[in-house]
Subunit: 253 residues, 2 copies
């Protein structure tokens, strides 16, 4: 039976304050809950229909608390317009260790990404391209925001994320001579430049791009050229689209 | 003065029926209205604050009807949560001529794209990569849906679009021996395949990919490889992300 208090807890996870206080985040939808079950994340509470439980007998081994509820009750608790047969309250993982010293892979670093859909899509791109770490500036939208989780399509369970002071992080990178990449209007053609196997790729704010404070750490300014022949050329690409093109270029070589 | 009837007309443009009946579509926000003013599109009515009009004296030459209104009145008419100083009612262009016979460039063809944000983003990608034509299947979301327009960031004014029977269109392509590309799980590595300078790139539905009826016209099955080493590999990329990577690969060579 889904108590009023539990419904209140579930809905509090829509706000950062609620997530910080409980240390939990919310995952909705059968596919996403199945991804959570396959992951190493700790599922505190699963709310689902008896039918969902029958389909996933292994759940009882993985979940501390299972609450059976009918669809109408799940609808009441859900933040989605069209909820499905399950939702899960999941423990936020501890920040994984990150050693700049031995960085031999690519990392994404996000400088004030505001839109949860963009952040979720960027996590999904990182996941696809085997980039295991995404560093978020303190003013980037919270990775455990439910809209980020839904847009990540399960990538949240496979990519390590951390909110941190981006300038200290990049200062540490500079000391360790790690290459730092970012896209700028005055950068060099990404299709022609030599790209490294390791390094940090910075993605900037939707409206303003990479901030001045972060730009000073960039060692390699890149540019994704437009092929438009129109008189009024397009000014920019969406940040997730730019992320996809950068990751594709770095990885394919 | 913005009449009740005009407000009703503006709000009717949120629905396909309203757009079909009036032949108009709605553009909101100063930046988008400025893009419209720079384009060849016919602006039927502009609703804006006196301040906006002062900043853009050339407007009087371009617009049939100008209605000055204060921000509160614009707010009442607007479909946006945070409207700006202007909105415009724009005439839907006639379908431009398209000659399969002389196709010497790339074209995108959309097979049942449902999400307006995805369609708008795909138009923006086409614009960036200089792809001038985007063909939409009849069941693809309407390009003049206000959410598509906003997500296109002005690309709607530079890219030719058309809703048409996709199977007839592709059958015509087959007769003219135009290469037709699409991404499939069993396709060949896009980074290694020879890609053409002309042809049609098909993008499939968000949940189900390219439909069987359309698949039979595909002459080159491609695949964007994942670089993930995780045990639970990601299953797919968002369709706009896949579009970006395809366009980038076709154009850079």
């Amino acid at each position: 039976m889904l108590s009023k208090n539990k419904i209140k807890l579930i809905q509090s996870l829509n706000r950062k304050k609620g997530r910080d206080e409980s240390g939990l985040f919310l995952v909705e939808g059968n596919k996403m809950v199945e991804e959570a079950l396959r992951s190493d994340f700790i599922i505190d509470t699963l709310v689902c229909t008896p039918g969902f439980l029958d389909l996933h007998p292994q759940i009882r081994l993985k979940v501390s608390e299972i609450i059976e509820a009918d669809s109408e009750t799940i609808q009441k608790a859900s933040l989605l317009q069209n909820p499905q047969d399950s939702l899960a309250l999941i423990r936020q993982p501890l920040d994984s260790k990150f050693d700049m010293n031995t960085l031999n892979d690519l990392v994404l670093a996000l400088d004030f990404i505001q839109d949860p859909g963009n952040l979720g899509t960027i996590l999904r791109i990182a996941d696809w391209f085997g980039i295991r770490t995404v560093i978020c500036s303190e003013n980037t939208v919270d990775v455990f925001n439910p809209k980020v989780i839904q847009a990540s399509m399960g990538a949240i369970f496979r990519v390590n994320t951390r909110h941190t002071n981006l300038e200290s992080f990049l200062s540490d990178a500079t000391e360790n001579q790690i290459p730092v990449f970012g896209t700028f209007l005055e950068g060099k053609d990404i299709y022609k430049e030599k790209l490294h196997r390791n390094g940090i790729i910075i993605l900037g704010n939707e409206g303003n791009g990479i901030s001045d404070a972060v730009t000073k750490f960039v060692t390699h300014k890149l540019f994704i050229p437009s092929f438009s022949l129109a008189e009024n050329k397009p000014e920019s690409l969406n940040v997730a689209i730019a992320a996809a093109i950068c990751c594709s270029e770095f990885r394919r070589r």
